[in-house]
């Protein structure tokens, strides 16, 4: 019994060996050893897909209430659609609708011009929201041409960046992750800043390197800047809400709720 209680007993040799092996693993992984790097890619791929398969049934069961709500909403929308369809028919007869539609399409294409780029569509297969990281796994990897740093977009809004690429999967970090750094341009006055993930701030976001004399206005839009050459210029990120009574007291809101992300687009050029 006495021997069991001691930390430095010979019988603990196996324990020290496992600890030592773990430390060596940490060192090798950090020092980017090629063998460990390749092994890590294989481990990541297998872990991500295993977790996806294991958690898939639970995820589907948890989705049921949301699906029911969607069904109820769809019923309401169907009624609205019937009314709209009647209106469309009227307008079509007047030829007015087609002209308006053409105009809208033309405007939309102009807006989409900056987003013309090679894009990969990927599925989010798992999400991690913990004290250590706020990230997600994608079902596309280096085989599909993904690179570290590529911007991840949903509905033309930036939601994160690729942080690690494996063979068949990749890891993306949300903008709210503490390691996320995104150069941005803010508002009409085009202030340059870095959008940083700050877990303890409101909405887990903060701005760094703002000019000394800055004054935000309510609903100032935040767009990406191509200052470091990694991100594309002008991808929408979010907006600023200035608190009453102070111009320098503000909250940052993202355009897209990253919690509900299921499929994303990744710019690879």
């Amino acid at each position: 019994m006495k021997a069991e209680n001691s930390w430095f007993d010979k019988s603990n040799f196996r324990i020290y060996l496992i600890f030592l092996f773990s430390f060596v693993l940490i060192y090798l992984d950090f020092s980017n050893q090629k063998i460990i790097k390749e092994a890590r890619k294989v481990i990541n791929d297998s872990v991500v897909y295993t977790v996806y398969i294991v958690t898939y049934p639970i995820k589907e069961i948890l989705k049921i209430p949301r699906e029911i709500k969607t069904l109820i909403d769809l019923k309401d929308q169907k009624n609205q659609l019937i009314v709209l369809e009647n209106k469309v028919e009227e307008l079509m007869q007047q030829n007015y609708f087609l002209k308006q539609d053409y105009k809208k399409n033309e405007e939309f294409l102009k807006e989409e011009e900056p987003y013309k780029s090679e894009v990969i569509y990927a599925k989010v297969i798992s999400k991690i929201d913990s004290i250590f990281s706020n990230s997600f796994a994608l079902n596309k990897g280096s085989k599909d041409g993904l690179k570290v740093g590529s911007p991840i977009v949903k509905n033309n809004n930036l939601i994160g960046q690729v942080s690690e690429v494996n063979y068949n999967s990749a890891r993306g970090i949300f903008l709210t992750d503490i390691n996320s750094r995104v150069p941005v341009v803010i508002g009409e006055k085009m202030y340059n800043a870095i959008l940083v993930g700050s877990p303890l701030k409101t909405n887990k976001l903060s701005l760094e390197f703002l000019p000394k004399q800055y004054q935000f206005q309510n609903n100032d839009k935040i767009y990406t800047s191509d200052i470091n050459g990694v991100l594309k210029k002008g991808i929408a990120v979010g907006y600023i809400e200035v608190k009453e009574g102070s111009n320098n007291n503000y909250n940052i809101y993202l355009n897209y709720n990253s919690r509900q992300v299921d499929r994303v687009s990744i710019f690879i050029n």
Partner: protein, 169 residues
């Protein structure tokens, strides 16, 4: 709780720990569960509790592999979680061995110590690897974990006693 457990208890304990590791990917879609992760570290608490109560399938080797899975999932260097888990395990076993009689306060204090040592190790590695971290966030998480342990202890003891009772019947 007796040292020799029936199979169900051990299996259930093991499944709970695995789910605490991979379950984040399921529950993070719900704001409530995602926010809970910032207040306390369920994995560390469960590992301490089950190690202290000597559940069968919880060994150093198991924790080493569970740590690798966790590291791979959250995207930090392989081995960090393994060392953290094994440290908690070792402190729990040590505390369990030296205790003369069952005093919850000493178990609770050792739990706090084990989580503090685990976090200190993780943050030291992050510091050397130049990974960003907010030490205040970890401090709050440590406090939350420490405070929540008695509640978790009551829940788990109650549940496992019920299971044991059911098995004996």
């Amino acid at each position: 709780m007796s040292r020799i457990k029936k199979n169900y208890n051990d299996v259930i304990a093991f499944v709970i720990i695995i789910f605490s590791i991979i379950g984040n990917s399921v529950l993070s879609e719900f704001k409530f569960f995602a926010d809970i992760n910032y207040f306390f570290n369920l994995q560390y608490l469960l590992i301490y509790f089950f190690s202290f109560n000597r559940f069968k399938y919880l060994s150093l080797l198991t924790l080493f592999f569970l740590g690798l899975i966790n590291d791979s999932l959250i995207g930090i260097s392989l081995g960090i979680s393994s060392v953290a888990y094994m440290t908690i395990y070792k402190i729990a076993i040590y505390q369990q061995n030296i205790k003369l009689r069952s005093i919850f306060i000493s178990e609770w204090a050792a739990c706090g110590l084990s989580i503090a040592v685990a976090y200190s190790f993780v943050l030291t590695i992050f510091f050397f690897q130049k990974v960003s971290f907010d030490y205040l966030q970890y401090f709050y998480n440590f406090l939350g974990s420490f405070v929540i342990y008695p509640l978790l202890w009551i829940i788990l003891k109650y549940c496992f006693l019920k299971i044991e009772k059911f098995e004996n019947e």
